[in-house]
């Protein structure tokens, strides 16, 4: 370990803490979602047995990571890149909202434009032309050649 990397260490170890909390929350969610399912016995397991058994495991793992995060120092996490984190899922959302109503051509084109805004290296004119090209190609490939059942245009 060099001195520089020592400085970037932090306590609690954020990576461990966040992952541990995620696991604990997931276990809680599964317990809630399966609360009405019968658990049964080991010899005759109900539908709730295995999910709840795994969730107990997840809860233990989660608590372990949360506990460990206060004991060992962790790496510093770079703050998330919000632009990508919002725009990439948004592009997928645009696609799924538009594909049936507006057709594959328009959905594809807008999906790519929204996605491209996620990168700071995007050049406007270039991406416009490229998106048109790829959208047209997708329509030909997926609808015409692979007969994906989806409208091409809104009309």
């Amino acid at each position: 370990m060099t001195e520089a990397s020592e400085k970037t260490k932090q306590r609690p170890a954020l990576e461990e803490l966040l992952f541990g909390l995620f696991l604990a929350a997931l276990a809680g969610g599964v317990f809630y979602a399966t609360r009405r399912l019968s658990v049964g016995t080991a010899g005759d397991m109900g539908p709730g047995y295995v999910p709840q058994a795994i969730s107990w495991g997840m809860l233990l793992f989660g608590l372990f990571f949360v506990g460990r995060s206060f004991v060992i120092p962790g790496e510093r996490i770079l703050p998330p890149c919000w632009r990508a984190l919002i725009l990439i899922p948004l592009a997928a959302a645009v696609f799924s909202l538009l594909v049936m109503k507006a057709g594959l051509a328009i959905a594809s084109f807008l999906c790519m434009l929204v996605a491209s805004a996620a990168s700071s290296e995007t050049r406007p004119l270039e991406i416009l032309v490229f998106s048109l090209f790829i959208s047209a190609g997708s329509v030909l490939l997926f609808v015409r050649a692979l007969s994906l059942p989806v409208p091409i245009f809104p009309w």
Binding site: L23, A33, A42, A84, S96, C111, M112, F130
Partner: protein
């Protein structure tokens, strides 16, 4: 000779003109994505899966397998020419391959890489053919108890090569198991964790999950980093290696093939271990180790052979036992199930044409790669000039269309979207997502076998240790876990995985 009969069945399937065509398409797509950094075989296979549903299963699988080994070829091409490993498996090839290219021997390096891979692929095909029969016969005597233990072993062994913490990977398997359980419980008909979404009643679509975690989340993580500039200036000459080159490379390729074939069979053998091990061995036995890293031809031949051999023998656990050894094999299992084929030892008997056709197609596919790829190198290299800022919106769009195509429903696109956000979180906290996919695919079978075993034993858990095969399998799990947790091994493993 049953083996010869089986290989004959295989080749008669693989040689059908439509299967040859699908093999070629798969190998070409594979090479393309192998060349392009930023998109790997997992999202590509996931994307193309929905479009194989209409094909006969054998054709679909031949194409998907082609993508897999094609990607290995493509990855080594860029490793040699521009020092960028297209796939993790070709990281070591950069070391000596790119040095050879800088000395003006790019053509030789590429040819040696291709020839070694082809040689290894041929041997590995024979290894698969030899091992598959006996292994699946052994597995046919398995009951629910043994299958449960076998799956536990498969899952735990797959953790060996996951990057980072072993415990985190185990937790990821658990998350995967939970995801796999979503849907209607076959025994009681009760809906589990479907949140009243009718599309989830049949289970979560693993294609969408895989594309969310491996496609979209990767994009989000990649965008954060500034892109690298790619400079391609090598001119191709003397494509055919000299006799002296071949003499130096052949024994190395032989050793690499052996190492790759063995390591590939192990669950979790994955893409990184065989080439790294092969390189280390070459360096160790060389008379003059200082040549390595300066364009030693053995440093290209052996890892490339190991890489390809390992890639192919990793199909053995899948075909014989129904256990995936890495994320890609998990996808293949999912694909089998969508075709209505239950993976497991019985497919060796019930689906002879499919299994042996795929095995034989690996050989024809490798031959095609050898013949077509060397002349096409110029085209592949020009692909590298496509910048990531154009690539990622297109990848995203294809993922959306692919997810939609699974069931022609936007629910799968939303599922992918959700997984992408979670996947980004996993990348941020540095946990590997591959174990999750394995857990998800094996989840339903694991539960089914556990319940059946417990039903038979009347709720007595000791049945897992009193039946000999099961006891051996579980003992192996314990040994692996103990070994992995020991600090000395942990350090060694991190060196290998991260170097």
């Amino acid at each position: 000779m049953e083996l010869l009969d089986n290989l004959m069945i295989g080749f008669s399937t693989a040689m059908q003109w439509n299967n040859l065509l699908f093999c070629l398409i798969g190998a070409l797509i594979g090479t393309m994505i192998g060349v392009l950094p930023g998109i790997g075989p997992v999202p590509t296979v996931a994307l193309l899966l929905p479009f194989t549903f209409g094909m006969p299963p054998a054709s679909g699988f031949i194409m998907l397998a082609g993508i897999f080994y094609g990607a290995q070829y493509g990855g080594s091409t860029t490793a040699i020419l521009v020092n960028i490993p297209g796939e993790t498996s070709s990281v070591v090839t950069c070391l000596d391959g790119h040095q050879m290219a800088r000395q003006g021997r790019a053509g030789t390096a590429l040819a040696i890489a291709a020839l070694s891979s082809f040689f290894a692929g041929t041997v590995a095909t024979i290894v698969i053919a030899l091992l598959s029969g006996p292994l699946s016969k052994l597995a046919l005597s398995f009951t629910a108890v043994e299958f449960f233990s076998l799956m536990v072993l498969g899952l735990v062994a797959a953790v060996i090569l996951a990057h980072g913490s072993v415990i985190k990977s185990l937790a990821m398997i658990g998350i995967g198991l939970l995801l796999g359980i979503v849907g209607i419980d076959v025994n009681s008909g009760a809906e589990r964790m479907t949140f009243n979404i009718p599309e989830f009643a049949d289970g979560l679509g693993f294609v969408s999950v895989a594309m969310g975690f491996f496609g979209l989340a990767e994009i989000m993580t990649n965008i954060e980093k500034p892109s690298q500039r790619v400079i391609v200036s090598q001119r191709m000459k003397d494509l055919f290696p000299s006799l002296a080159d071949l003499k130096a490379a052949f024994p190395a390729a032989l050793r690499g093939t052996a190492i790759g074939s063995i390591l590939g069979v192990l669950p979790g053998g994955g893409a990184a271990l065989p080439p790294f091990t092969a390189y280390a061995v070459e360096k160790k036995i060389a008379k003059d180790p200082s040549r390595f890293g300066r364009g030693a031809i053995e440093g290209v031949a052996s890892p490339e052979a190991a890489n390809n051999a390992g890639a192919q023998t990793s199909f053995i656990p899948l075909l014989t036992l129904g256990i995936p050894s890495n994320a890609l094999m998990a996808l293949m299992i999912g694909a089998l199930m969508i075709h209505g084929i239950q993976p497991g030892p019985q497919i060796m008997v019930e689906q002879k044409e499919l299994v042996w056709g795929v095995i034989a197609s690996m050989w024809t596919g490798n031959l095609m790669l050898l013949i077509i790829n060397l002349p096409l190198i110029g085209m592949w290299v020009s692909l590298l000039k496509v910048p990531y800022r154009l690539l990622f919106p297109a990848i995203l769009l294809f993922c959306c269309i692919g997810a939609y195509g699974v069931n022609n429903s936007v629910v799968d696109v939303w599922l992918m979207l959700g997984c992408s956000v979670v996947g980004y979180f996993f990348n941020k906290v540095k946990v590997e997502t591959a174990p999750l996919l394995l857990g998800m695919v094996l989840g339903p079978q694991l539960e089914e076998n556990l319940r059946r075993a417990m039903m038979l034993s009347g709720g007595d858990f000791s049945v897992f240790v009193t039946r000999p095969i099961s006891a051996v399998l579980l003992a192996t799990v314990v040994v692996i876990l103990l070994v992995l947790m020991s600090p000395a091994i942990l350090r060694k493993r991190n060196e290998v995985v991260e170097s």
